[in-house]
């Protein structure tokens, strides 16, 4: 049963080198099943994003979006202490939010670059780096809050299909999807 955050824990009994591959297949499986439930011809869009390059920061994201202003994101993230277990969370997300996040990231680089140059000329490079990082973090926090507010207001105006109840129901449904069973542990 998913908790109040629309999240639940699942995973395998023991560590195995095959588990990341199986979690990747699990994300594909979720995307496929969501694709059946929310078909493309009704305006839904399902997308899988896999962050697997760094073994310590593995994450699988399944985005379910309808139009620009409504959607949900299924995050599958291994637990730090037990990487053979994952926390699956269904959060609110929209295409507008995604676009704003990307745009904000790229656009912010320009003023931060000039800030860094200015601080470098005014102080020492190390201090300029530290100050730029501090400003960038504060800028990112404020920017994210503003973007989230804009995205939620737009969703409220144009219709938000994925309310917290819907997301909880979705999480409960995903919890019933079986984990893929692959080859036994790869240690021979």
């Amino acid at each position: 049963m998913a908790d109040k955050f629309g999240a639940f824990e699942t995973g395998f009994e023991r560590p195995s080198l095959d588990n990341p591959l199986l979690f990747s297949r699990y994300a594909d499986e979720i995307a496929m099943r969501l694709g059946h439930q929310y078909p493309m011809h009704l305006g839904y869009r399902v997308k899988v994003e896999k962050k697997e390059k760094d073994p310590r920061k593995r994450e699988w994201l399944v985005d379910l979006q309808r139009g620009w202003f409504s959607g949900a994101r299924v995050e599958i993230k291994p637990l730090a202490e037990k990487p053979h277990r994952v926390r699956v969370r269904v959060s609110w997300q929209s295409r507008l939010m995604s676009v704003m996040e990307k745009g904000f990231t790229y656009i912010s680089m320009v003023p931060l670059f000039f800030l860094f140059i200015g601080l470098t000329l005014a102080t020492r490079l190390g201090f300029a780096l530290i100050l730029t990082i501090v400003v960038a973090i504060a800028w990112a926090i404020v920017g994210y809050i503003v973007m989230f507010a804009v995205a939620r207001v737009c969703a409220a105006i144009f219709g938000n299909e994925f309310s917290s109840e819907t997301r909880s129901a979705l999480a409960n449904k995903i919890e019933q999807f079986p984990l893929p069973q692959g080859a036994p542990a790869s240690t021979t």
């Binding site: 990341p20 990487p83 020492r124 490079l125 190390g126 201090f127 780096l129 542990a185 790869s186 240690t187």
Partner: protein, 319 residues
């Protein structure tokens, strides 16, 4: 005048080196004569504006035999795939001892060493705290003073437990975290680098077939190190050779207006078709260069094959 200090790098292998990493200081930015060099490893740049330095933050420095600083000359070509493949050594799984050891309170030289070490650290922190108090920085002085007291308490605490390593009989450090309450606690021996586990009231060898989804089993990097002939994840016949790079930035130095970057690279890592990213190279803040493995079995093979060839851990890289 440039204040940058360059350090040349040298590969730790003799003929077709497998691992490049931070190495000793070479005066004037020159590498050791006659050593094969390939990979930029450590760069320390003083970026102080007041000192008039201007330039890029990081740049490759290739080792050279001799000659004026600033004129780099590569003295060899990259090792070929076949050469690297030929460097893999057949190895068997090392034996796992059945013996178990019990927990005990630290006494004698172990306790003395623990107390002396902690007291030395406490003295250093106390000195810093005193300096802050002297200059009326009460908050920082208070923080360091508190740390001094905590370290002193830890030095004379009786809550620590030790045990002998089931592999080499060396004593685990009191700070390793062994305790009768910590069932399942896994510790690594600092002498033989083998992993042991506290279970059922005894310290015994850790399951040699243990695996992890993320690299967590730590081994030292060996000078002139070689790889076992087998995928570093599963031991299957290797079909490709990967490399892994790492970079470490000393953030503490940023406060002094300096960028201090240490980087390293391991190459020729054998993998099968199925696996990748099962070995990671790490440089910690203490400049210790280590390999982290997903498979304890393959880590033990790496240790065994390098010990058999008489290789020595590269150890700490002082900058």
């Amino acid at each position: 005048m440039s204040t940058e200090k360059e350090r040349g790098g040298f590969d730790l292998g003799r003929s077709t080196p497998a691992i490049s990493l931070a190495c000793g200081i070479t005066p004037g930015g020159l590498s050791r004569r006659g050593k094969e060099c390939r990979q930029i490893v450590t760069i320390r740049l003083d970026m102080g504006r007041q000192r008039g330095w201007a330039g890029q933050c990081e740049r490759p420095i290739y080792c050279k035999q001799s000659g004026p600083r600033g004129r780099s000359e590569e003295i060899h070509t990259m090792a070929t795939y076949q050469e690297l493949l030929g460097n893999l050594i057949d190895s068997e799984d090392p034996a796992v001892p059945q013996r178990t050891t019990s927990l005990a309170k630290p006494v004698g030289p172990v306790r003395t060493k623990h107390i002396v070490t902690n007291c030395a650290i406490a003295a250093l922190f106390g000195l810093i705290a005193g300096a802050f108090f002297y200059y009326s920085h009460w908050i920082l002085g208070g923080v360091f003073g508190l740390l001094t007291v905590l370290i002193l308490l830890a030095a004379f605490s009786s809550s620590y437990w030790v045990a002998a390593c089931p592999y080499c009989a060396a004593v685990f450090e009191p700070m390793a975290g062994l305790s009768p309450e910590k069932e399942g606690k896994v510790v690594q021996c600092k002498s033989c680098f083998e992993y042991s586990e506290y279970s059922g009231g005894r310290v015994r060898a850790h399951d040699p077939n243990a695996v992890s989804e993320v690299p967590k089993f730590v081994s030292p990097v060996f000078s002139d190190g070689v790889w076992p002939k087998g995928c570093v994840a599963c031991g299957a016949a290797p079909t490709r050779l990967d490399e892994v790079k790492t970079r470490n930035v000393s953030y503490g130095m940023l406060a002094f207006g300096r960028i201090w970057v240490t980087s390293g690279k391991a190459k020729g890592i054998p993998y099968c078709e199925k696996h990748r990213g099962a070995v990671d190279l790490k440089i910690d803040q203490g400049k210790r260069v280590t390999l982290e493995w997903c498979s304890l079995r393959m880590m033990r093979r790496y240790l065994a094959v390098n010990r058999k060839l008489g290789r020595q851990p590269a150890g700490r890289k002082w900058i």
